[in-house]
Every structure is written in C-alpha cells, then in structure tokens.
Amino acid sequence: MAEATERIINLALVLAAARGSVDADRIRRDVAGYPPPETQDEEAFKRMLERDKEHLRDAGFSIESDAEGNYRLDAAATFAAPLQFSAAEKVLVRAVGTAMLDDPSFPFAEDLHIALAKLAETDDPTIPAVTARGADEDPGYQAETVASLAGAVSSAKRVSFDYTNSLGQDKHHEVEPYGLFARDGRWYLVGRDTEIDETRTYTVARARRLSVNVARPKSPDFVRPQDFRVETFVRQPFQYGSDDLTVTIDFDPGVAWRADALLGAGPGEERDGGESSVRRTVHVRDRQRLLRWLVENGPGLSVVSPPDLAEELRSGLTLAVEAHGGDEHGTDLR
C-alpha cells in the first residue's frame, strides 16, 4: 500500500520538476516504486503507469501525452492562481466548508476535505464556531446514498432501487439519474423513470437497495436532456400535490424584502407606496398547504387572487378565533 502511494507522489514530483517531457523509460528508471523490467513486463508496467496517471488526473493534475509516449505536465492547467478573496470571503469559505464536514449528512466530505486543503493558506486551526445538520432522517444513509447517486449522475449510469412512496406503497424503480437537490433536511433525486418514461422526483431517504449499473463503467447509459436544470424541480411545500391554480400574493411593505428569500428571486410586480409592497404570482398544487405557508410566514402576506382562496383564508382565520375566543376549551374541531 505504502509503495503505491509513494510511487504516485514520486511520479507527480518527477513530472512537476521536469523542464520538458518525460518518456516512459525514464519514468520506469527514475520514479521510485515502479518495478524493474526483470520483474514486470512492459504491458503490466504501462497499465500501472496509466492507472497512476489517472489517479493524478483525479487529484487535479493535467498530464499531456504524445504518440511517442512522452508525458508532460501542463503547468497552467495544473497549478492554481492566487485567490483574490477578501478576509471575510476566506473566513466564509472555510467556515461553511468546515461546517459541512461536521455534518454526517453531507455526501461529499472526502472531496471537500481535499478542496479545503488545496485552498488553505496556513495550517491555522482557528475556525469560527459553525456547525451544520443538513438532514435529520438517517443522515449517514442519505450521505452515502447521495454520494453513490452523484457518481451515477456524473457518469450517466442507470440506477435501480426499491422505493416506498408517501402513501406507503413499495415499488422497484429503474431510473436514469439527472440530478440531486437538498431541501428542508432531505435529499431528492430527479430522473427519468424508464418504466413510465417520465421525469420524477424521489426522496432519497425512502429509497433502499440502491444499485448503480456497473456494466461498461466508462460508457454512459443515457444522455441527460440539454435543457435539464435540477433547480426547476426545487419547489415550495405547496407546489407538490394534485391542485392546479395560479395565486397572486401581496407582501406588505414591511415584509416585501423577504419575498425573494421566501419564494426565490423571480419576477415581481412592485406597487407604489412608501417602501413598496411586492406582488408575486405562484403556481400552486396544494391550496391548503399554501394557506398554511402564508400564515406561518406572516404577518403581511395576503392572497389577492383567486378570490375564493382569499375567502378560504379568511374563514379559516375566523374558525381559529372562534376556537380560541371563549373560556370553553376543547372545541369540536372539523
């Protein structure tokens, strides 16, 4: 094991220190760790060298080769330029990165460790007190599964898994994974379900016995649609369901500044008056959930249209007043 690690580092040092190209014979002769010709045939040596170069590419090295078997490190493509970051930006990147490393549900810890090490300027261990817990349901399982799925997304390999939907129904799915997103403590997979030929969203924590197609690992199983953007699948809680309506919401002047934070940046119609209120239109798939969301994020949010939804909100508020208005506790709730 130590020999292979040492050999890969030696190869990196030899390529980086060389003024020009280095041929395979010199590598075999000068790089400690490659067995001599007496104990390893040419084909085995070439396979070993190719594997080592692949490892260096995975580490960020850009290695060029020509038809004659010469290798050269492309310094401009390999080495980073100094970062032009302010002190606050440096702290932010380090603090957030460290917080994610502390989070058992963060799926890419190994790569993030390496990234932060490469960006480090000193071994200064003082980092702000920042922690994170991105997922609350089986965080280790979500991290491990998302890491596997992310590999399948980037290499375009088909996956299969058993899935329990929100109604408790179990089914096996074969999916072409297009993308992943995290929201409100859960990771989600978006991909084309090959059986029904539809793009669907799956909650990762509900998927079990995940299997990634390992046949022909370097060959993609599918082509992701050019216009796919995973962010278009990241929706508000009221945008999942079977309702289908368009709702106009007003944010009063005092809370108008929160419209983008709550709904994401989007086209909004600003209205007149002092510090302006903001009017936003949203597509809603669950009207009850929208009303709940409006109250949870209030005061200052109101339904402009459709009028029946505005009335539904009003009657719901009236019911709440009636339930809490008198001395009698334990109303007959419907």
Partner: protein, 309 residues
C-alpha cells in the same frame, strides 16, 4: 475504520504540499483535521512523504520534512509542487455543494473568482449546478458578515425581522456560534439590546454591519441543535381528526391522547409564543391550544390581527 486507498492517500498528501514552505512548522493535529484523518494515519503518511523525491539519487530532491513531537518541520525547499494544484471536478462539486448552503450560487462572483483561480480548466459551475442543488434560506451577505464577525469577535449591528413582527428592529449583538439546520442558518449571539443570549434566523437579518468593536469571547460551545426542547415549556394542542403533525415541523412533539372522534392531543415544546401561536393559527381552525392560556390568547390575538379586527 475504513481503509484508505493508496491513491486517496497520495491525493491528500499532494493537496497539502503547498503548505510546506521552507522553515515552516506545521501542527500534525491541524493537518489531520484539515484532511479529516487520524493523527497516527497522517503521521505515517508524512513519514512516507519524507521518502518521496523528484530524483532519488539527489538528496536535495527529496521532500524536506521531518516529523517530531506532533509537528512537521520543513527544513528545505520542495523539489516541486510548491504551488497548490487546481481543484478537480469532484472537488469543485463538493465545494459548490457546500457553498450553496451558504447561499453562493453558480453565478455568484465569489464562486466565479474561485473557479477561475483554482478549478480545473474544464470545470464550470453552471454545469455542476445543473445537476446539484443544496438549498438554503437567506442571502450570502448577512452570512458572510456574521461569519467574519464571529471569527474576529466583533460587535455587529443588525436590523432583525423577528417571527410574527411586522417590521424589523435594530440590535447590537456579539456573535457566538452559527448552526445550519436543514438549510436554515441560525445565529446564537449575545444581544446587547435584550441583555441576553438569543437565537436569530440569519434569513431574517435584513441588514448587518460589522463594527470595529471587539468583544471578549467567553467559552461558548457551538451546538448541533437549534433548540434543546427538553428544557422548554410545552403547549397542549388539540388537532382535528386527520390533521397530521411531525417532529420535523414541531421538534419534540409528543402525542398524549387520541379521542374517539379521531382528534389528537399533543404536547409541543415552544421557546416563544410568537412561533407556537403562528404554527397553530396556520392550521386555520383545525388546531386549538388547550393550555397554557398565554398561548391560547396569542393565537386569538394573532387571528384577530390577521382579520384586521
């Protein structure tokens, strides 16, 4: 413990090399933390590194490190690789996913500058973000300011829009710790205005200004939970038949009774009446606070306000 592969060990040592400036003295503990490995493992790897060379026949071409008393002493100049290597696509993806949680999007200037300087030339943020998204609440500006203030122990002036408040209010705070819970950033800070330690949602900080004033940072352990529900008062709430509840929405919720008609009584820990009353009101008549009276009245007041009465 999982065994680390040879290529992974090589990769993490190569990621560290640029820190080995002549005469540097680096703590193994901190290097181990940087790489997420054990001290023993890193010590063994660094010993191995001391045997690596650009030319095994030249004593000056070895990596000039010596391990002693928990430190790495760098006694010469590296034979090569003194500049950090660019981030691979996988490393950029990991960093982008982490920074998304801080509100840094693909088109953010910070990520653009980072990629230009430090990422492999065939990597672009937009292509990563097409397939990967970690959502977070709130913008990057307040988080960047707060993180900096936390690091520098600086008093910070904020305008904060509290839960249930119609307009933001001004506060001077001493930031103590930050915690991200399911995509929402929470700041624990000593609020000078309130004269007590308070928890603030960062996405409710409308403006933030880091002052020059440095505060005395007493020992404060960052928490991995937002609120310790065990120490909070509880509200007894009756839910209409079929009305669902979960610990994800109401941390620490506990069902205490199910009536014949299917209605459920639950106990919900709460830190302030503002939050719990709004949660109950949001059920629009399908939930009723049975006790305490103060929460019951808060729901009634809130509902009347919303109706403009």
């Amino acid at each position: 413990m999982a065994r680390t592969s040879a290529d992974q060990r090589a990769r993490r040592l190569l990621a560290l090399l640029h820190l080995f400036e002549p005469d540097a003295r680096l703590s193994i503990d901190s290097l181990a933390r940087t790489l997420g490995a054990g001290e023993t493992e890193i010590t063994r790897d660094l010993e191995l590194l001391s045997m690596c060379a650009a030319d095994q026949r030249d004593p000056n071409a070895f990596v000039p490190v010596m391990i002693e008393d928990g430190y790495v002493e760098v006694f010469g100049t590296l034979p090569a690789l003194e500049t950090p290597v660019r981030l691979s696509a996988a490393e950029v993806g990991a960093l982008a996913a982490a920074l998304q949680v801080a509100g840094v999007d693909a088109d953010d200037d910070l990520l653009r500058r980072l990629l230009e300087a430090a990422a492999a030339t065939d990597v672009d943020a937009a292509s990563i973000e097409r397939a990967l998204r970690s959502t977070t609440s709130g913008g990057i500006e307040a988080l960047a300011n707060i993180t900096f203030a936390l690091h520098e122990h600086r008093v910070t002036h904020i305008t904060y829009h509290g839960v249930g408040k119609g307009i933001p209010g001004d506060r001077d705070i001493e930031p103590l710790s930050l915690h991200n819970d399911k995509g929402v950033w929470y700041l624990r800070a000593r609020c000078r205005t309130a004269g007590a330690v308070r928890t603030f949602r960062v996405d409710r900080i409308r403006t933030s200004t880091v002052t020059e004033e440095v505060f005395e940072a007493a020992g404060h352990e960052p928490s991995t939970t937002v609120i310790d529900t065990a120490s909070l008062p509880v509200a007894r709430i009756k839910l209409a038949p079929g009305e669902r509840f979960s610990a994800r929405e109401w941390p620490g919720v506990r069902p205490v009774d199910v009536a014949e008609d299917g209605s459920t009584v639950v106990e919900v820990p709460y830190a302030g009446t503002g939050w719990i009353s709004r949660q109950v009101l949001a059920r629009l008549g399908r939930a009723e606070v049975l006790s305490p009276t103060i929460v019951r009245e808060a729901v009634s007041d809130l509902a009347n306000d919303a109706l403009g009465r």
